[in-house]
């Protein structure tokens, strides 16, 4: 681990000012915010993250979870994953979010991990985490050994010839299905970024993963009010029964009317360079009967354009089964 300065921000402007001293908020940042530390410190120990300064944001009062005046769910950036998963509002109105969080990591990790930290966790690509390996995401231009190497866990959607890494978050998948919005505060003021636009695809610059600019602090995330009568579920498929990242996962939310699908929202995890949502696949479902054929149709549309790698072609079929089964579960 490289030596670094640890500072505790006294207030938000101070944190933002400190963050803004970095030339980038992406890979290679010289200043990093410290939330739960379960991604950051891990990567610092591996030498993948090498900030010179670490700014602790845990005492900025960013940990609220409440119903906002407009009915949105307000989720503070440093609210702990456990607190969010077990919050009565979340359990009642956003079941798939609660389930997604609880399907991830372990109790100990969830007790430390935060909302913003979870959204910004990095890929689990084994080459990314191994300094002795080349990796375009960690060291742009050095190459991507995963393409010819171990890629069973990696992405089939949104990849490029420079990087095939997947986004590993469970929480983000559910938030994406619930149309979450990320609220950030920077030196030049605040902005709101729909989660659907928050992550950028790797293209030729896989080191750039999000819309965040230097100094931008995520203050909270909002989820629009629940749709009346909507039912949701999170289904995660993996090799091991617990404590493992997803091979494939899905968050599905459906409203039925007169025995037909009135509205459907769903997103996929484990398969995309970012959490994956395809509106067209949701449109396919609108107005159809909630049956296997319709679900399979939506699944096919969602996986359209998937590019399998040498060891993960099975994810296409597995993702489709995951989607179909989750829909069946939530509509039965």
């Amino acid at each position: 681990m490289q030596t670094f300065d640890l500072v505790r921000a006294s207030d938000r402007p101070a944190a933002i000012a400190a963050g803004a001293e970095s030339a980038t908020a992406q890979q290679g940042a010289s200043v990093r915010f410290l939330a739960g530390g379960t991604t950051l410190i891990d990567l610092m120990k591996l030498g993948v993250e090498r900030p010179e300064r670490v700014v602790d944001i845990n005492r900025l009062g960013l940990d609220e979870i409440r119903k906002a005046e407009n009915g949105d769910l307000f989720v503070g950036a440093t609210a702990r994953n456990s607190d969010l998963a077990h919050h009565p509002l979340v359990r009642a109105d956003y079941a798939a979010l609660s389930q997604a969080i609880l399907a991830g990591a372990s109790t100990q990790l969830r007790n430390a991990a935060t909302t913003a930290g979870n959204l910004l966790q990095r890929t689990r690509c084994m080459y990314f985490r191994d300094l002795a390996s080349a990796c375009n995401k960690r060291k742009p231009g050095s190459g991507c050994p995963a393409i010819a190497g171990a890629n069973r866990m990696l992405a089939i959607l949104g990849t490029s010839n420079a990087c095939i890494a997947n986004n590993p978050s469970d929480m983000a998948v559910a938030m994406l299905a619930y149309d979450a919005v990320v609220h950030v505060q920077g030196v030049a003021g605040g902005r709101q970024i729909p989660l659907a636009d928050f992550y950028v695809l790797p293209g030729q610059r896989p080191d750039i993963e999000t819309m965040l600019a230097p100094g931008e602090l995520i203050t909270h995330v909002t989820l629009p009010p629940p749709k009346t009568g909507e039912r949701s579920v999170y289904l995660k498929l993996r090799d091991r029964a617990s404590y493992e990242f997803a091979l494939v996962s899905t968050a599905v939310a459906v409203t039925l009317a007169d025995g037909k699908i009135a509205n459907a929202r769903f997103a996929l995890g484990g398969v995309g360079a970012r959490p994956w949502r395809v509106r067209k696949a949701e449109d396919v479902l609108r107005g159809s009967a909630p049956d296997e054929r319709a679900f399979r149709n939506a699944a096919d549309t969602c996986l359209d354009g998937a590019r399998p790698q040498s060891h993960n072609g099975f994810k296409i079929e597995l993702a489709k089964r995951c989607i179909v089964h989750a829909f069946k579960q939530v509509t039965s």
């Binding site: 010819a148 190497g149 171990a150 289904l235 498929l237 090799d239 091991r240 099975f314 597995l318 995951c322």
Partner: protein, 735 residues
Amino acid sequence: MAQPQAAITQIGQARARIDGPLKVTGTARFTSDHNLPGMLYAVPVGATIAKGRVTAIDIARARQMPGVRAIMKRGDFPPMSHITPNFVEPLMADETRPPFDDDVIRYYGQYVALAVADTFEQAKAAADAVTVSYAAETPNVDPHLAAENTKVVSERGDAEKAYAGAAVTLDAQYAIAPETHNPIETHATVANWDGDELTLYETSQAVVNHRNVLADMLGLPRHKVRVIAKFIGSGFGGKLWPWSQSPLAAAASIKLGQPVKLVLSRPMMFHAVGHRPRIEQRVRLGATRDGKLVSLQHDYVNTTSILDDYEENCGEATPHMYSVPNLRVTSGLAKRNIGTPTSMRGPGAVPGLFATESAMDELAVKLGMDPLQLHLLNEPRLDEGLGVPFSSRHLKECLTLGAEKFGWSNRDPHVGAMKRDGMILGWGMAACSWLAARLDCSVSVELRQDGTARVASASQDIGTGTYTVMAQMAAEMLGIAVERVEVEIGDTKLPPGAVSGGSMLTASLVAPTEEAIAAAGKALIARLVAGENTPFSGAEPQTLAFKQGRIMAKDAQTSMPFAAALQTLQIASISGQGTGQGTFGAQRPKLSSHSFGAHFVEVTWRPEIARLRASRVVSVFDAGRILNPLAARNQIEGAIVMGIGMALLEGTEYDAASGAPINANLADYVVATNADVPALDVHFVEYPDYNLNALGARGVGEIGLAGAAAALTNAVYHATGIRVRELPLKLEDLL
């Protein structure tokens, strides 16, 4: 044949570990818990290529970092000796090349330098700052194996001819991914050179062997090296023989004149401390139409390192497992740019039985026969490989009792036919065997005036319960409470004990403990007879006996516990030593000694989400007399958990381009969690094996893993119709 003890009191009792309180309170000191005054920390630098040469090592930046005492590399300490292994001294090492011996890199992670600093963090930072230049070549880590050095391991009849003429045949290939030992405690050494003697706190399953190897490698007299391993955070075979980190730490301590601690990181566990190699096996079975085996051919090959020939003895159980007149077993090796493999829990028989027990299941399907019936039909009367009787074989009882407890008779043999709660059930079974033998082993016993006793041996407790079982044994033989026995092990200053390996330690300890107690008793009798005013003054020694901790006249009129005798004599204590002869590796044994068992496994299968889980396991073992049912069950359960890992999850992945074990951490090398393990129902059929020792006990450390993977994949076939011939099973195999 020795006779069983008359009064059984301590033996067979389900006793909690006597060292349990030390462990749960954190008082037990494991190797890396030893902190000595002036101690330095060492962190090795591993090669980041798997084949080639080191052309330069730049230490300039690292050397100047704060707290750094030395950056050591080849030439910085006197050359060390290579080891020529032998089991007799013992002098065993799987990686026989001492560290820094030359500049050739033969596997990824091979140590090329060592950073030593005041703190661990400083040493780690310095190790990371060392720049190594290489002339790299393309490594060979190809998982497809072609055997070199093929040899015949066992042969009888004409297996090829019988196979050609058999009415029903099966020919199948099986493969097992390399598995890495992942005990929670990583390998560690604390080396302390005091200018004359070297003390090593070690994570060792064999302290005497470790001492011998280290002394020879470093060129020190053996009596100048002491190895201590009081508590071990398990080993699974990975800590049987010394690995390079130990001589490195020792050399650093000798050179710097200060104690040095070296603890391997989790990724380093995948580099230079052994693993179960990748294994490919072919099994050909020939049978009559009614299921009688007529031919068995078992050919296997495992990867080994460039310098050392580690042979995974997959054919260990094959010759005696089934009755079959024609048999041929061959082994072969394939050299790869991977560190030297080593024994992993149940080496040889565990992977071997995966192949043969899968093949038996496949044959049963071909025959349209129940696999349980196929096993019963081919049960041998004697060990047909050695041509000698079994010392005690009760596999039939294991099979029938297991079948009964599991409800096997309700099995519908049709694939996918059994269902529960919307899931498809798969039922599979497999039989298993593991060797039973003794090793040379010495024990000393001290009887004390206060009625307590101390038993000591340079053996180890690797978490399996040796402390407790030794106390139970001595308590039993002395007729005292277990609480009155103090056990001291894990130190080469004690009488040379046996290796904690091969499930042989428990069986090896019985005779020397008995002999040591008898010797102490004899010495006590001599003193009582010679002493004045003792109840036995002037008696003829041969009229007295020492039984159950009491001196008694053979006419049984008078008897006296040893404590009272010592009080009368006014001596604090009296000691005796015993040495037991080993049977392991005997060339022409008169009896074939093995433990046996059977696993019955249920899996649930949900094709709609490709979810497979083990849901029920019933296992029954014939492992001699069980000295401590709690400890024994614990060993078996742990082994079955590893079997679930082996079948469904575990595998080290070597990157084809770099040769690096790329999943070298516990997030990517997936072992079973509690959620993967169903309730385990373990039974023992207790037939004491008095041919092995006076208590009739065998070891139970490994047998539980044998056959477990095959029982699982046989169940998978029953559920899905898909025959998994390569471990670990991958979810995509079932799509």
